[in-house]
């Protein structure tokens, strides 16, 4: 499924980017990478740009660019907040907690595996000096 098919307040996880060159690179640079999670905040009028929150950043992407981002839906927005036609700016009372940082820390919805904590190795263990000012 592609990012462009989502509507306001749907939560998603990026699978991969299906475009190369400048557009693909820009998307990747801005944080659309395998595994990053986000929320659609609002969709522009008539397939206008999407306002998306990915990994804590608020980004604008064109509909055509969003159509190149393959995603996996984590959670659809509650019914009341979605408009019947087109990707609306969700209105109604059942607005979910869609603020940006929440998308990172909210408990994983049922049916998704908890993320494995990645192992990180130091880039340069020898160079660590006392320069750090707490």
């Amino acid at each position: 499924m592609m990012l462009s098919e989502l509507r306001a307040f749907d939560r998603f996880k990026v699978v991969s980017i299906h475009t190369g060159r400048e557009t693909g690179r820009r998307l990747a640079d801005m944080g659309f990478t395998n595994g990053s999670e986000g929320t659609v905040m609002r969709c522009g009028f008539l397939h206008g740009p999407l306002h998306v929150c990915v990994g804590g950043y608020q980004l604008l992407v064109r509909y055509s660019e969003a159509a190149a981002v393959e995603i996996e839906v984590l959670e659809y927005a509650p019914h009341g907040s979605r408009r019947a036609l087109g990707g609306g700016q969700g209105r109604g009372k059942g607005r979910p907690a869609a603020a940006c940082h929440v998308c990172e820390d909210a408990p994983a919805p049922a049916g998704t595996r908890p993320r494995a904590r990645p192992r990180v190795t130091c880039l340069d263990p020898d160079e660590v000096t006392g320069d750090v000012q707490p």
Partner: protein, 695 residues
């Protein structure tokens, strides 16, 4: 220990980079352009612990690709100037993308120190960073700072100098061994490329080879271009292409994306390990404002209301200072007139030089106010929202959401409008926007429209003026489409942009923005306008009409008309008459169009002189004179308005186009506007005549 150090300040846009720069350098900085591109380059000096620092503010970027001039400027600076230390400014409340860029700086083989900026905001938002651990993971020193309050700047500089002093060939070689590990598949390919690149010792000395190898895998055009100097360039190129192809087969996506995913994977891990975030930090204020400003129904009307307010306020506040400027130059002109003997010199000084400089400076108050208001909109973060609202429509015509602001500004004055195209990141978007800005009728063209519409469309002059404005807007969009499908063809520039949180602008920031823009205007436009005014003055005064006794008996208005007819400009008008004849004009209109290059409102006063109206400010009598002329009909008047709308703008605008885009695009612009202006007017005139409109 070096006495003089070069310190580069780098980082994402919107992370407080410029605040840190200002905090370090204070008021001692100058603004220029990077060679070859109009990306702004700030440089400043400061003394710290008896060392002289040259501080360079690199353009804010998200990455270091070859796609945008900003990023190329930043990485060329790091590669060629080899700064002694790079301060990477990061927004502590959301580190991931900043660390992603930081990895790329490290790969360039320059000593990097990280500034965890906006530390106060991050703490308030409940973000806690284990700086010691993060510093170990990234392999760079980190310092907490709050640029807006000058906190941590001393520590930052001290740590930066310590890092710069510790740099030695050995430490650099050591650092180059401890880089991000891209995983065995990529590392194998990288090792192969590095081994081949090493064969050329000149290359070994000039570039960090691992960085070059990564760039080759990313299919970076600039990196491939650099291979031309390599002894075994062809072999490296072949291997690089094979490797990138293999990666794409293996991972099933673009090689560039594979590389950036590896970087992000590391960054994600590092952030998970070192950053803790208290749950739920909803930016409810920003969200609530966005709900209104980015609303699909309210957003656009609100924006138009804001722009209307900006214009109203600019002209309301600017009226008085513009008047002061005018009277100041009036007084200067009067003074010079009294001091100098009657004759050519006086005329040159009073009408040519003082008049010309006065013309430039009378705009300055307006520019200051306009840019002040726009900087507020820009600094608060509203402009990015405007792009969201307008992009859909503009994209149809090959423009960008951010093209909207310069185009709206064009209704005020094309000079600041073309300068405002700098906010556009994509070079092609920028060029197209600047090329279509002249179609937005500027304030100086309004007097021409008012004169002609008042004289020939007395029933409804406003409708005639609106029709001209509307034609301009339509031509702007159609021309954009034309340019985008011919000269500036290519893939659409990605729109992907960040939506910054709302911030209240700081006085210091506003002051710098406005000061820089105003100085640029005075310097760039000022010199050219002065020259142009002197040239136009010469063309309308030389050769001088022989003073005969008969002439002296004529009224002064008649004398002025005859002397203009006799001058170079008058003769030029005669020469080009065959060109404007098919448009329904005669030589007098040709002359008016030529003098209009100095400033468009001069067209009205030239017509005044031509029709021997002594008092050219009295447009009522000029209207009468125009109506009495058998040449004019409503159709011709409309064609003249159209012609004035399209033909190339004033010298100030042309000078700005040259400064921003270079001679080539200035040539394109002038040729296009001349040809289009002639063709459109010709078509309207002849179709109108056939259908007997307004004869």
């Amino acid at each position: 220990m070096k006495e003089r150090l070069i310190v580069a300040i780098a980082g994402n846009p919107n992370c407080g980079k410029t605040t840190i720069f200002n905090a370090i350098t204070g008021a001692h900085h100058k603004v220029g352009n990077y060679p070859g591109v109009t990306v702004e380059k700030r440089e400043g000096h400061c003394r710290f612990r008896d060392r002289q620092l040259l501080v360079v503010d690199l353009p804010g970027t998200y990455s270091l690709t070859a796609y945008s001039p900003d990023e190329v400027a930043a990485r060329d600076f790091l590669l060629n100037e080899k700064p002694d230390v790079v301060i990477d400014v990061m927004d502590s409340s959301n580190l991931e993308r900043h660390l992603y860029l930081c990895l790329q700086f490290k790969e360039l083989g320059v000593p990097v120190i990280g500034a965890l900026n906006m530390a106060d905001e991050a703490e308030a938002a409940g973000v806690q960073i284990d700086a010691a651990q993060l510093s170990r993971l990234m392999g760079i020193p980190l310092v907490r700072t709050v640029g807006s309050q000058d906190r941590g700047i001393e520590d930052l500089l001290q740590a930066a100098l310590a890092l710069a002093d510790a740099v030695s060939p050995a430490s650099l070689a050591e650092a180059s061994r401890h880089q991000l590990n891209y995983g065995s598949e990529l590392e194998e390919r990288l090792a192969g490329l590095v081994a081949l690149l090493q064969a050329d010792t000149v290359f070994l000395a000039r570039y960090p080879l691992r960085w070059l190898a990564i760039k080759l895998l990313e299919k970076d055009v600039d990196a491939y271009a650099r291979l031309a100097d390599h002894l075994q360039g062809a072999a490296v190129r072949r291997l690089a292409e094979e490797s990138a192809h293999w990666l794409e087969q293996h991972f099933g996506r673009d090689a560039e994306i594979v590389v950036s995913e590896q970087r992000y994977a590391f960054v994600h891990g590092a952030v998970q390990e070192t950053v803790t975030r208290r749950l739920v930090t909803r930016q409810t204020l920003t969200e609530n404002i966005d709900k209104v400003l980015m609303n699909r129904l309210l957003g656009l009307p609100f924006f138009l209301l804001v722009m209307w307010g900006v214009f109203k306020l600019t002209f309301a506040l600017g009226e008085a200072p513009v008047g002061w400027m005018d009277s100041l130059f009036g007084v200067l002109g009067g003074l010079a007139g009294r001091l100098l003997p009657e004759g050519l010199l006086r005329s040159l000084v009073v009408d040519g030089i003082i008049g010309g400089i006065g013309g430039v400076f009378s705009f300055v108050p307006l520019i200051i106010i306009l840019f002040f208001l726009l900087s507020i909109l820009e600094d608060t973060g509203y402009m990015a929202r405007v792009a969201f609202i307008t992009d859909k429509f503009l994209h149809i015509f090959g423009l960008h959401g951010q093209s909207f602001l310069p185009m709206i500004l064009g209704f005020g004055c094309s000079v600041p409008a073309i300068m405002a195209t700098r906010t556009l990141r994509g070079t092609r978007d920028r060029i197209v926007t600047a090329l279509v800005v002249p179609f937005m009728s500027c304030g100086a063209k309004l007097p021409i429209y008012v004169l002609l519409a008042g004289a020939f469309f007395p029933a409804n002059p406003a409708a005639a003026v609106m029709a001209i404005y509307g034609s301009g807007v339509a031509l702007a969009f159609l021309s954009a489409l034309l340019f985008k499908s011919t000269l500036l063809r290519g893939e659409a520039t990605p729109f992907v942009m960040e939506l910054p949180p709302y911030r209240s602008p700081t006085w210091r920031g506003l002051f710098w923005h406005v000061g820089e823009k105003t100085l640029t205007y005075i310097k760039k436009a000022g010199t050219v306008i002065l020259l142009a005014s002197v040239l136009i003055w010469a063309a309308t005064n030389f050769p001088a009409l022989p003073q005969t006794a008969q002439l002296k008996t004529l009224p002064p208005a008649e004398q002025a008309r005859l002397s203009l007819e006799y001058s170079l400009a008058g003769r030029f008008g005669r020469v080009i008459e065959p060109l404007v004849r098919p448009l329904g004009f005669d030589w007098r209109i040709g002359v008016a169009a030529v003098t209009g290059f100095a400033a468009k409102e001069i067209v009205v006063s030239t017509l005044g002189v031509m029709y021997a109206q002594a008092n050219s400010d009295d447009s009522g009598s000029l209207m009468g004179a125009l109506r009495a002329d058998p040449l004019f009909s409503p159709l011709v008047a409309f064609c003249l308005m159209l012609f004035m709308l399209i033909i190339p703008p004033c010298f100030a605008t042309l000078a700005t186009i040259r400064a921003e885009l270079g001679w080539k695009w200035l040539g394109v612009s002038v040729a296009y506007l001349l040809i289009l202006g002639w063709l459109v007017t010709f078509a309207v005139y002849n179709v109108g005549r056939l259908l007997a409109w307004g004869l």
